[in-house]
Amino acid sequence: MISEAARRRYQTIVPPYVDDAYALARWLSGSSVDAEDIVQEAALRALNALETAIVERPRAWFLRIVRNAALTWMAKNRPKAVVMVGGVDDLAAIETFDPAAGERSPEALLIAAEDGDRVRRAIAALPTPLREALVLREVNDLSYREIAEATATPIGTVMSRLARARVALAKTLEDKS
């Protein structure tokens, strides 16, 4: 039984972010149809949680539920797709740009960056932890602090995942041109 108070709080917290939720769910699951189911499930979880939850940053709070619902959904339906890469949070494991790249012409990257399909394929190929950090930043436009809340991850880890995601994208786009 959901109280009227929880329903009223739900109305200010959840519906305004349904586009953000849908975008995140789509990038995590790789499917628009699945994304709808995931957001539905997340909305229901949010409504139940709002009986007691204290919400400071509504968007990050709801996207965290969406993200968890998406990961649960993927673990159940497509277990092979959830790749939690070992050592993904290790700062020293960050692949930095090759210093020689400074002398390389940025032309290949610039050309590849114009090809929408290639860019989207490269995002989809990122390991989940890197992809979710990148999507929350570039698609949902969350701050580092909000991403940390949405992914239940320390801010330093958010930073290293975001950096790795961008370096990986740059390399993928350059290499295959």
């Binding site: 009227e4 108070a5 329903r7 009223r8 709080r9 739900y10 200010t12 917290i13 959840v14 519906p15 349904v18 586009d19 953000d20 849908y22 975008a23 789509r26 990038w27 628009s32 709808e36 539905q40 909305a43 229901l44 204290i54 919400v55 400071e56 509504p58 290790d90 700062l91 020293a92 494991a93 960050i94 930095t96 740009f97 210093p99 790249a101 400074g102 940025p106 990257l109 114009e114 860019v119 989207r120 995002i123 990148l134 999507v135 930043r137 570039e138 698609v139 949902n140 436009d141 701050s143 580092y144 930073m159 290293s160 975001l162 950096a163 961008r166 370096v167 994208l169 740059a170 786009l173």
Partner: protein, 258 residues
């Protein structure tokens, strides 16, 4: 824990600069490093090309209308319950208030009313910090539009200088996630803060209810479609006198405009 790696560290800082997450001092340091290091400049350019490409080719698309509708429907009160508590007029008014401001986002109250605790805390912070108002003006034509652009309710900014309570300014109190317009009046060396609440969360009666929290006095009441909370460090009799003056003034203004 991993060892400090200057290259990885620089890459993180380049990303943070791109995301506008560096404070001014760190940004300045980084700008100096970039100026002396062509590799760093090239790396920043590549990161920025990637970031821009993702934003252009993976825009946030709107959720399908059916999904939007079903998510919104989850939060709608059950029709039978609504008819049971509200006459239709009140239900419409409450719906309007929710549309404009939304209900407050509050956790369960820990021994006491969270709205009162929040507003009293707000008053105490304002007093202690000396930051009593965000805009200092005794001109209600200045205070009212200032508040109107920052908080969703249409507050009546009345000056009560002729009654002994000059308007000192306005500020925005925040309860949960909702900004609430607050008028600040002066009484000798004391301040009185009057915050307007949307009716959607207001449970006060027309008769002011007195309260005391952390040594501050409060009165909470409801006039027409608005709830109000007055918080001050003056004594409760004086606060009651002020509230009577304030309500009379609001009533006069209200009858002129309606």
């Amino acid at each position: 824990m991993s060892q400090f790696d200057p290259r990885a560290d620089k890459l993180l800082r380049l990303n943070a600069a791109l995301d506008d997450e560096l404070d001014a001092a760190h940004r300045l340091d980084l700008d100096r490093e970039i100026a002396q290091d062509p590799h760093a400049a090239a790396a920043l350019q590549r990161l920025s090309v990637v970031s821009d490409a993702v934003r252009r080719h993976a825009p946030r698309e709107a959720a399908p209308a059916s999904l939007r509708a079903s998510v919104a429907a989850l939060g709608s009160p059950r029709p039978a319950a609504r008819r049971a508590y509200f006459p239709i007029g009140a239900a419409l008014a409450a719906g309007l208030a929710i549309g404009v401001t939304g209900p407050l986002v509050l956790g369960p109250s820990r021994g006491g009313d969270p709205v009162m605790a929040s507003l009293t805390g707000d008053f105490a912070r304002a007093e202690l910090s000396g930051h009593t108002y965000d805009i200092a003006s005794s001109d209600r034509h200045v205070v009212k539009p200032w508040l109107a652009t920052r908080a969703p309710l249409g507050v009546e900014a009345v000056d009560l200088a002729d009654k002994g309570y000059p308007l000192a300014g306005g500020r925005v109190a925040v309860v949960g996630a909702t900004p609430l317009p607050t008028l600040v009046y002066q009484r000798r060396e004391h301040w009185i803060a009057v915050t307007e609440l949307p009716l959607s969360l207001e449970k006060a009666e027309a008769t002011p209810q007195a309260g005391t929290l952390d040594g501050f006095r409060s009165l909470r009441w409801r006039d027409r479609e608005r709830g109000y909370v007055a918080v001050s460090d003056i004594d409760s009799e004086e606060l009651s006198a002020f509230v009577a003056v304030f309500r009379a003034a609001i009533g006069v203004n209200g009858s002129e405009t309606h």
